[in-house]
Amino acid sequence: MSGAQAFRPETDDQLLEAVRWLVSEDAPAELVGRGTKRRFGRPMQTEHTLDLSALAGIRLYEPDELVLSAGPGTPMADIEAALAEARQMLAFEPPDLSALLAGGDPDAAGGQRRDSLGGVIACNLAGPRRVTAGAARDHVLGVEGVGGHAMVFKTGGRVVKNVTGYDLSKLLTGSHGTLAAMTHLTVKVLPAPETEATLVLSDTDLADAGRLLTTGMAEPAAVSGAAWLPGRLAAGSFGDVGAGVVLLRLEGFAASVADRQAALAGRLGAGRLGAERSLTVLDAEAPADRWRGLRDALPLTVLNADAPLWRISVPPSAGAWILQALLRPETDDIGLLDWGGGLIWLAVDVAAPEGDAGETRVRAALAAVGGHATLVRAPDPIRAAAPVFQPQPSALAALTARVKESFDPKHLLNPGRMYAGI
């Protein structure tokens, strides 16, 4: 058999057969769901494609049991619609990066998200609520899949409390399809908050942001979203906010939100902010779409679509000053903070280009505090040359390689997507 094969199995058995063929031919393949994150990770040289989009559909949803199972190709739009009907949610607020990665108009799909459950899980993405709810990995209960040994295996289950055997579900979550082709995913769902409110602190620069985010997160108010946008990126959603805007979200039962909002405003507002700052509150009618935009990194879509983008995970209290240090003077480098400072989005100025999309200085900035940086968007040649994910120390890199081998000894599934040779 020669020529590029594009398999689109409709059953688990068909997928198993396809993987068997890859094994017998020693032929690596790219795993694809709905394709919105194909440009996330390192470019690959795979000839064949394993398209999982037909392994779709919600197979079990029991709101009372807080559990949902679905195929990897299930559109996230379908899942969110089903959850909304029972006033539930995936608490980790999975982002849809399609506007950012695939380009184009975020509203092109009529406001519908375009990604799949499998892609969200494979990339372990989480939105602003990461600070309280955790990431995708905290909500995956069970996975079935086919590994590079061409065997079907299952791990985990459908219950929250489960310590039976190794938690391979977590390992598969965030493995970018390099360990197994998933056929069945079971996730924990939670009640959606009754209401929400957002404290908006205008005219705050990065130094203010560092202080306010750290203070806000340390309050008993249970802040479930804590972000800072510079004025230029905030303008679309918030109008003129001066240097920038700090957003602190509170969610829950109405009485609770009102109470915490008053307490938090008292702690952060008025005299403590300085005379020139202003504090306003967006109620439940307004903030949802703004947080959704932040979740999907939409503020960054106003920038040149060729600007390299970094997603940087740091100790939250270091976020503001690391971002400050990464903004080169006299350039249009720009960034925003999420996760109470723990997540930095950095856009490198295309008019002041660097051969490595800023990789050297980004990694250097992390050396002192720990954390990791992912080059989420850059031209293919740069993503092929610079490590897209954080390079690992040698002992850890060797362990990572052995873990890959234990699932996919012939390197057939998304080879090189995360690291060269993995």
């Binding site: 689109r8 199995p9 068909q14 057969e17 396809a18 063929w21 094994v23 017998s24 709101p63 009372d64 049991e65 559990v67 372990n124 990461r130 955790g134 040994h149 065997m151 299952k154 791990t155 289950g157 459908r158 219950v159 929250v160 409390k161 489960n162 310590v163 039976t164 055997g165 190794y166 938690d167 391979l168 977590k170 390992l171 979550t173 965030g174 009640p191 959606a192 340390a218 008993p220 249970a222 009485a255 609770s256 109470d259 995970s313 740091v314 100790p315 939250p316 720990g370 954390g371 994910f389 954080q390 850890l396 362990l399 990572t400 052995r402 234990s406 699932f407 000894p409 995360m418 690291y419």
Partner: protein, 495 residues
């Protein structure tokens, strides 16, 4: 219980091994007299006992790395141990193995309020973390019932839970990073103070790996703000079904209580006889519902919960007015195990998890099994997350009764799996449930788990005989049986 065969070659070299270990861990850190080693012969699963070949109590990561490297080079088995509170025999020693005790690594290294985390050594107790930060209004959320004694290192190994998991998660959801030594002595760091570790989620897979993948030498845990207020409700129901229905209605109303515990009639009576918590004796199921948060939230939730309980048919309903009363509500539940211990010479605690809605069915069938085996059973249940703890009452002095209790327990766990649940929710597989793994997993599922083990410990030296019913050599697990040149799937749709 069949354990790996003793390695005569290793035992013959015992003296030489002890000397070599003394060179790595000087002073009293190496114990080789049988009398002194006897305290380490079992963990919380006391039915199984083995005196180890030698006990080593290192003081730092460097010593642990050197001990493991030495054992790796000389093919010596190692069993890590925290406080030894495992209920599944995870720290059961091996007669030809080193028992590696982590108790001396008991310092809190750093408390970082700005990043809401603490960096601690593995021998710090679970409660010790909370005690170190409580005065500033913080706490560490997972609270296994052994929290006064169990260590955070053991919590990582077992992915320990507690009564507040539904709202706050298990250990795995409350960790930011670890430092870990692999069997070959290599030291790796996973995660840190940032929210998500990079690369494969090795932190996730280490958590709950029961000491089979590495030895954790430092842990960074997430700290949470102590809730401003907490109140509990005590609800009695005329049937188990009604209690279960109440739980489902609470969840359906969008409420995730901090704690949601259920007890059945035998457990209620045993607890009430023991601590006089004021539990009603004329109900079939008792729920403790605890809510925490700002006072305004609690004040809003309590009436809602009362209404839900009434709709579900609660026949008794009390709300704690102060922390003393709340403590009394919990006293019976927290004393449930010793209370059962008082009415029976021995009891055997099971730990399956089931989809919550199947509770009435599982309890009915457990009652049938109880009659069949001629052994009494009392049930306590983490109702929020489906984790069931049947306590089987038996008398080890009656010949054959321990075996009968174990057989009964195995039947309950099989039942849990049959209704869509799992063998263990928080106590771990260890040696106890090892031979039941094939009830829940197929051969290929277990092979994939063991292949992962090979990535960490290819010689199988770290805590062997636990978790897996059969040991396979790594080379055998790596084999693939694929015939070349087949294209047996003409039907797969392609583009």
């Amino acid at each position: 219980m069949k354990m790996p065969e003793l390695d005569a070659d290793v035992l013959a070299r015992r003296r030489e091994i002890v000397q070599a270990l003394r060179r790595i861990v000087p002073g009293e850190g190496v114990i080789d007299s049988e009398d002194e080693m006897r305290v380490f012969e079992s963990d919380g699963l006391t039915a199984y006992r083995t005196v180890p070949m030698v006990v080593v109590l290192p003081e730092n990561t460097g010593q642990i790395s050197r001990v493991l490297r030495y054992c790796h080079e000389h093919k010596i088995k190692v069993v890590p141990r925290g406080a030894g509170t495992s209920l599944s025999g995870g720290a059961l020693p091996l007669g030809d193995g080193v028992l590696l005790g982590l108790a001396k690594l008991n310092r809190i290294l750093e408390i970082d309020h700005d990043n809401r985390c603490a960096r601690v050594q593995p021998g710090v107790t679970n409660l010790g973390i909370t005690q170190a930060v409580a005065h500033d209004g913080w706490y560490y959320a997972p609270d296994p019932s052994s929290q006064i004694a169990c260590t955070i290192g053991g919590n990582v190994a077992e992915n320990s839970g507690g009564v507040h998991c539904l709202k706050y998660g298990l250990t795995t959801n409350n960790l930011l990073g670890v430092e870990m030594v692999l069997m070959d002595g290599e030291v790796v760091r996973l995660g840190g103070k940032h929210l998500d570790a990079d690369g494969y989620d090795l932190l996730g897979v280490i958590t709950g790996s029961e000491g089979l993948l590495g030895v954790v030498t430092e842990v960074t845990v997430r700290l949470l703000r102590t809730p401003e207020a907490t109140r509990a409700m005590l609800l009695g129901f005329p049937s188990v079904e009604a209690g279960g229905d109440c739980v489902a209605r609470i969840i359906a109303a969008g409420i995730v209580p901090a704690g949601l515990e259920m007890m059945d009639r035998p457990a209620i009576h045993a607890a009430e006889d023991f601590v006089q918590a004021g539990y009603p004796r004329d109900v079939e199921s008792l729920l403790i519902v605890e809510v925490d948060g700002p006072p305004a939230e609690i004040d809003a939730l309590i009436p809602r919960l009362q209404e839900i309980a009434r709709e579900a048919g609660a026949v008794t309903m009390r709300v704690s007015e102060d922390d003393d009363e709340r403590a009394r509500f919990w006293a019976g539940r927290k004393a449930a195990f010793p209370a059962v211990g008082r009415i029976s010479p021995d009891y055997y605690c099971m730990d399956g998890t089931i989809p919550r809605g199947r509770l009435p069915e599982v309890l009915t069938r457990t009652t049938e099994l109880s009659a069949q085996f001629g052994l009494r059973v009392a049930n306590v249940f983490h109702a929020g997350d489906g984790n069931l703890h049947p306590l089987i009452l038996y008398d080890a002095n009656n010949p054959g009764e321990l075996e009968k209790a174990e057989e009964f327990g195995a039947e309950i766990l099989k039942l849990c799996v049959e209704v869509g649940g799992v063998l263990t929710g928080e106590h771990g597989v260890g040696v106890e449930k090892r031979d039941l793994m094939e009830v829940q997993f197929g051969e290929d599922d277990l092979k994939q788990q063991q292949r992962l083990k090979c990535a960490f410990d290819p010689e199988g030296l770290l805590n062997p005989g636990k978790m897996f019913p059969r040991l396979h050599r790594c080379a055998e697990l790596g084999r693939m049986h694929i015939h070349h040149g087949q294209m047996p799937f003409p039907d797969i749709p392609r583009f």
